[in-house]
């Protein structure tokens, strides 16, 4: 969906900014907010561009650079850390060949770290797009990534 269409669903009131940014980003195939997106939101809500940029860069769910088709977010909060999330992170870096905040060359995966996802009962956990993967072990990682690759 074009950003213009999304904007029209909302009133021109500043408190709609977060929802607008969510919707524009969700509609973006590269899961991010471009400079043009920020400018159109700013114009629509009659807010300074700098203000909109400030909001978009404050919250971790928004990205200002293009991301891969699959967004992998590894929880690194204390409960997951206790149960070995750093091993999971190392394995993901190895299997994907990219570090945190980076995207694979085939643009299939972006690796990110996240704060507590609220699924600590199955720690260590990660989220791929909307799906939660829990009780992770380093051995399971390669298989999960393979499945995701095949699903494309």
């Amino acid at each position: 969906m074009k950003p213009e269409k999304i904007l029209k669903r909302y009133g021109r009131s500043g408190d709609n900014l977060l929802a607008i940014l969510h919707d524009i980003q969700d509609a973006s195939p590269e899961h991010y907010l471009s400079d043009a997106d920020l400018r159109s939101a700013a114009d629509y809500l009659r807010l300074p561009y700098s203000f909109v940029h400030g909001v978009a860069s404050f919250y971790t769910m928004y990205s200002l650079k293009p991301r891969g088709r699959n967004l992998i977010r590894v929880c690194q909060s204390p409960p997951c850390h206790l149960l070995g999330s750093s091993t999971i992170s190392r394995e993901l870096i190895k299997v994907l060949g990219v570090g945190f905040g980076e995207t694979t060359a085939d643009r299939l995966f972006t690796l990110e770290m996240t704060s507590c996802l609220g699924v600590c009962g199955v720690a260590p956990a990660m989220m791929v797009n909307d799906r939660v993967y829990g009780n992770l072990t380093a051995e399971r990682i390669a298989g999960i990534i393979d499945d995701l690759r095949r699903a494309q």
Binding site: S13, G14, D15, N16, L17, L18, A19, L21, H22, L45, F51, G54, V55, F58, Y59, T60, M61, Y62, Q76, S77, P78, P79, H81, L82, L83, T114, S115, C116, L117, G118, V119, C120, G121, V122, A123, M127, D130, R131, V132, Y133, G134, N135
Partner: protein, 532 residues
């Protein structure tokens, strides 16, 4: 209307969805259809049971038998053996579950009796079906107020009498907060629900929202009525998709039934409820940061005072309450303050929802009386330390929490008792660490979390979290220097005194408790450095 002899409940939450609950449901309906049993056995999706890491859970009522780790292939056996012949399927992981303290059940584990107030309906009704909720007693509190035309002051009085205190961590009396908001000058007022659950180790609010969203709607309407607000907002973390979906559906149903919107139950009271989605910022769990975010800004906390009760959303009087706090309101309004006061302790009546996790046999969620000893939560409900290893410490209340050693295992879990023991209840997270875990390592992880989540607005927090992380890192790497522990504590204490909001103020809790209770570990880490 047909009467079913048996109900099969399939709790749907993030965990069971991952494990394939919908595949099991489809198969079950197919198998029942083949055997022409669809008019005898009803299959329902329910909210969570609070047991996690056990795959798909399938419950058979009225038998109160729960099966765990159910796979699609197990379904025909469950249908043939249990649903047709009434025999428990021996080969499957199962347990009879206690539904109330008066019905005996297992002695250990999460299936033993719990006293459930805020989660009483969560595991026995379909959260997406308002008829079931109403049949199970939902909206009774709101109905009583409106039918009896109780004055708002009387509602506030009832909540004050109940002794309900904020379950988000601070423990502030809810009735007083409502009274301040009601009495504050200004026409327009707001009620805001804080569902920005971000404290590491905490997922109680998610399970309340996923399991019984109507309870929150009822509570918000009652609160709106009491403080004089016509509009309410629920601010939910953007990551909680299922919670958002369920609450959205519930709001639509409530509106359709005349339980939200104009002239509710023809009482003249009107109330609108909106969901606002967060975008990933721990600091937005702080009420003034949350309000800023609701207004569409960066989540930078405001200077207090003035407090939100007088200057909140759009500078109007606003009451901000946690999900679990509000979830207690319908029960109090339906059953009265005296009923509530009989549960829990004198100063902290009611129940508390705890999440018990880490190195325990049965990680998950427990709702039990305020004042329940920590030992019972870990060893009774949680089944004790995993693999029979020795207990070392529990981190209570999340990252902004306190490490407690073994000698404090008998502490009662309520605001007062914990405070007397230099600990905190916080969000109710109980993270258990066994003898193999390292407190140094955990403190490093906490420091990393705070450094990442500091909003950067005030200097003590922005610089302090980074400094503490640097020190924690080098101690962990075995390069600790003499005086590191003292410096870390001094920094944390300075942050406590000078930071703008509870984020910067609370890092002192894990730092001090780790250094006081596990000093030898830090000495050891520094000692290793000396040798190296």
């Amino acid at each position: 209307m047909s009467v079913f002899r048996t109900h099969v409940l399939l709790p749907v939450d993030v965990g069971t969805a991952q494990a394939g609950v919908f595949e099991v449901k489809r198969r079950l309906e197919k198998e029942l259809s083949v055997r022409q049993m669809l008019d005898e056995v009803k299959v329902l999706e329910s909210g969570t049971v609070g047991i996690v890491g056990k795959g798909v859970i399938l419950a058979v009522y009225p038998d109160r038998m729960y099966y765990f780790n159910v796979r699609e292939a197990d379904v025909p056996r469950i249908v043939d053996e249990h649903l047709l012949k009434g025999r428990v399927v021996a080969g499957l992981d199962h347990a009879a579950i206690a539904v109330s303290p008066s019905v005996p059940g297992p002695k250990v584990g999460l299936t033993r009796a719990q006293r459930r107030i805020v989660l009483d309906k969560a595991w026995t009704v379909d959260p997406e079906n308002i008829d079931e909720i109403i049949a199970a007693g939902g909206y009774r509190g709101l109905e009583r107020i409106l039918r009896e035309a109780l004055p708002p002051e009387a509602v506030i009085e009832e909540i004050k009498k109940s002794g309900l205190r904020g379950r988000g961590g601070a423990g502030f009396p809810t009735g007083m907060k409502w009274e301040f908001t009601r009495k504050a000058a200004g026409g327009e007022k707001y009620i805001v629900c804080n569902a920005d659950e971000g404290e590491p180790g905490t997922f109680k609010d998610r399970l309340i929202l996923e399991g019984d969203p109507h309870r929150l709607i009822e509570a918000m309407a009652v609160a709106g009525y009491a403080i004089g607000a016509g509009r309410g907002f629920v601010y939910i973390r953007g990551e909680y998709r299922l919670s958002i979906d369920r609450l959205q559906k519930a709001i639509a149903q409530a509106r359709q039934y005349g339980l939200l919107g104009n002239n509710i139950l023809e009482s003249g009271f009107s109330f609108e409820l909106e969901i606002r989605k967060g975008a990933g910022a721990y600091v937005c769990g702080e009420e003034t940061a949350l309000i800023e975010s609701l207004e569409g800004k960066r989540g930078n906390p405001r200077v207090k005072p003035p407090y939100p009760v007088t200057h909140g959303l759009w500078q109007k009087p606003t009451a901000v309450n946690n999900v679990e706090t509000l979830a207690n309101v319908p029960g109090i309004m339906a059953n009265g303050a005296d009923w509530f006061r009989r549960i829990g302790t004198d100063k902290c009546p009611g129940t508390k929802v705890f999440t018990v996790l880490g190195h325990v046999e049965y990680p998950g969620l427990v709702e039990t009386d305020m004042g329940t000893p920590l030992r019972e939560i870990i060893f009774g409900f949680g089944g004790g330390v995993k693999g029979g290893r020795k207990f070392k410490a529990a981190l209570l209340g999340g990252a902004a929490g306190v490490f407690v050693p073994e000698k404090l295992l008998d502490v009662k879990m309520d605001f007062e008792s914990l405070k007397e023991n230099k600990a905190v209840l916080g969000s109710g997270a109980v993270l258990v660490m066994d003898e193999t875990a390292s407190v140094v390592e955990m403190l490093f992880s906490i420091a990393k979390f705070f450094a990442h989540e500091s909003c950067g607005q005030c200097v003590p927090c922005r610089v302090g979290t980074r400094q503490i992380l640097d020190i924690a890192w080098r101690i962990r790497q075995g390069h600790g220097r003499a005086g590191d522990a003292e410096t870390m504590l001094q920094l944390a204490e300075t942050m406590f005194k000078t930071s703008l909001c509870p984020l910067g103020q609370s890092l002192v809790m894990p730092v001090r408790s780790a250094l006081e209770n596990f000093a030898e570990e830090f000495a050891l880490a520094a000692g290793q450095a000396g040798k190296a």
